[in-house]
Each structure stands twice: as C-alpha cells, then as structure tokens.
C-alpha cells in the first residue's frame, strides 16, 4: 500500500529526541487494539460457555459438531499463520515475489477457512440448528460469526496489500505495514486456537 498509504506530517521534526518508547506508533496502536480485542472475544466466549448446555429443544453442541471437519479447517487457518510470517520474512529480505506469493496464499487459506465455516453453518442449519433455535445456537453463531468477520476483514487487508504489491508500491521499507496486518492475522488465529479447543474439542453437552 506503501505510497498510497496516508502519511501525516510529522508531529514535529524535533520531536525525535522525545521520551517515548522508541516503538512505532502504528505497531503500538495495533497491539493496544489487540489487548482490547481480548475482552471482546472473552465476552463472546463466556456467553457461549454459559449457554452451551441450553439448547432448548434444538440440537445440542455435542450432537452437531463435526470434529474431523473442523479440525481440517482449523489446520488450514493455523497454516495461514505460517504463510503470513513467511510473507513478512520475504519482504524483510526484499524478496517481493515471494512476499506476493505468500500474501496471496495466506488470503487463500483464510478464504478456505471461511468457506469451511460457511459450509459448517449451512450444514448446521440443515440439521435444524438455526440462529434463533436456542440460546446455544445464538451464542455459537454469534461467536464463530464474529471470528469469521474478523478473518474476512483480514482477507480484505491481505488482498489490499497484494494489489498494492502488484502495483509495485509494497516495497521492503514498508514491511511494517505487512507486519501489522500480520499481527492482526495471527491474533485472529490465536482466537481460533482457543475456540477450537475450548468449544469444539472439550466435550460438549449432548441432548
């Protein structure tokens, strides 16, 4: 995105000797944001946990989860973290081609994950678990839906990076942008690591 990324005027050139942390503002902003996201997902996960055994007359989580399928899509998302970090590593070396390649791969893996989620949702709906079926279903779809939206936003950002790379404006000196997008991406992955274990693998109530 490099050249097209907005840059503000320096707050003041002479600010450079200030007493700050010496860390880039942007990166700090992203980390601060991720700290805040912990509370967001924490709230959604807790809601789910409180409601997972309240499936009313609908299907129970233990009846409906397809662990092998979700394992595969979790693995896909996990590996997208690897490709993400490889993309950054390539750019750090000035290897634009590989950077592009890995960015695209990451976005594709992310899309694969989303595809899997869409498939999972449709299967669930077909099996009688609609959004309004029970507290469990509402909580489940809301939690995984929020995660899915985060992944989708990540894909949009990755594609924007990819396109600006094609236009030749994502160069080695812009690796911080890639790094920041990467932080977001890994965070979303981490959240899924949590969700996958706590929501899918820990045995759920059955009806």
């Amino acid at each position: 995105m490099a050249d097209v990324m907005t840059t503000e005027a320096p707050a003041a050139a002479h600010q450079s000797e200030g007493a700050g942390t010496g860390i880039s503002n942007n990166k700090l902003l992203m980390w601060v944001f991720l700290g805040s996201e912990c509370l967001l997902f924490g709230g959604l996960i807790s809601t789910y946990l409180i409601y997972r055994s309240r499936f009313h007359t609908g299907p129970a989580p233990g009846d409906i989860f397809d662990i092998p399928f979700t394992s595969v899509s979790s693995f896909v998302l996990l590996m997208s973290s690897l490709t993400m970090v490889l993309a950054l590593s390539a750019l750090n070396r000035g290897d634009i081609r590989n950077n592009r390649l890995w960015l695209l791969t990451t976005a594709l893996l992310g899309s694969l994950f989303i595809g899997g989620q869409v498939y999972e949702f449709t299967t669930f709906v077909r099996e009688g678990l609609g959004y309004t079926t029970s507290p469990f279903s509402s909580a489940f779809f809301t939690l995984t839906g929020f995660h899915g939206i985060h992944v989708s936003v990540g894909i949009v950002m990755l594609m924007s990076l990819f396109i600006s790379s094609l236009r030749g404006s994502l160069r080695q000196e812009h690796s911080e942008t890639v790094e920041i997008v990467g932080l977001y991406w890994h965070f979303v992955d981490i959240v899924w690591i949590f969700i996958f274990t706590v929501i899918y693998l820990v045995p759920s109530p059955t009806s």
């Binding site: 010496g22 092998p68 981490i190």
Partner: protein, 114 residues
C-alpha cells in the same frame, strides 16, 4: 507507508523498523519448524476426540492449547523479540479478560454445573 516512528524519525534509514533493534529475525526454517510443532500439537489435540484418555482430557487439551497459543504469540507475532511493552499490553488484556470472565462464569456456576 513509512515505517519509521516518531521517536526514531531522525533515523531515515528504513530497515524494516520493527523496534526490535539489533535482533535477528528467525529464519524461514525456524518458522516452518514452529508450524510443524503447531501441526503436531493440533493432531494430538484432535486425537483426543478419537482416543479416550479419561479425566486427563481437559487438562491435556488446555496445556496443548496453551502451548500453541504461546508459540504463535512468541514466534509469529514476534513477542519474543519485540518490545516487552507489547507483551505487557497483550498479556494485560488477556489476564484481565481471563480473570473477569472467570469470575463471571463462577457466578453462573459454570464450573460446578457446566
């Protein structure tokens, strides 16, 4: 997009500006190694679905999850190499979220009644 932050703006050489002054980035091989460990851990996790390991199940799962979590944060998110401030923010948010929501779950008798 520029990468140099305000505090370093005197320094116009763009070397990636990660604030990880002086630290070498892990090699790609290292990343792949980490990913392999993550993959194996995931496989182990999933295997608990097929193999009954009794009451050890939940602790085992939690440990494996924790390790995966840690590996991604430490290596892929560079927390190992980056400013400890980031770790503080992240861990701060994490600990606060865990603490607060655990108390809330306790109030809902989640641990005792599931």
């Amino acid at each position: 997009m520029s990468t140099t932050d305000i505090a370093q703006s005197g320094d116009t050489s763009h070397d990636g500006g990660h604030g990880d002054e002086g630290h070498e980035h892990p090699s790609d091989a290292k990343y792949i190694q980490i990913a392999a460990i993550l993959g194996v851990l995931t496989a182990l996790e999933v295997s608990t679905y097929f193999v009954n390991i009794g009451p050890a199940l939940i602790p085992t799962l939690m440990v494996m999850m924790g390790v995966k979590f840690f590996l991604v944060a430490a290596w892929f998110m560079h927390l190992r190499f980056d400013s400890s401030l980031f770790t503080k923010f992240f861990v701060g948010g994490l600990v606060l979220a865990t603490g607060v929501y655990m108390i809330a779950l306790t109030a809902f008798e989640f641990w005792t009644k599931g």
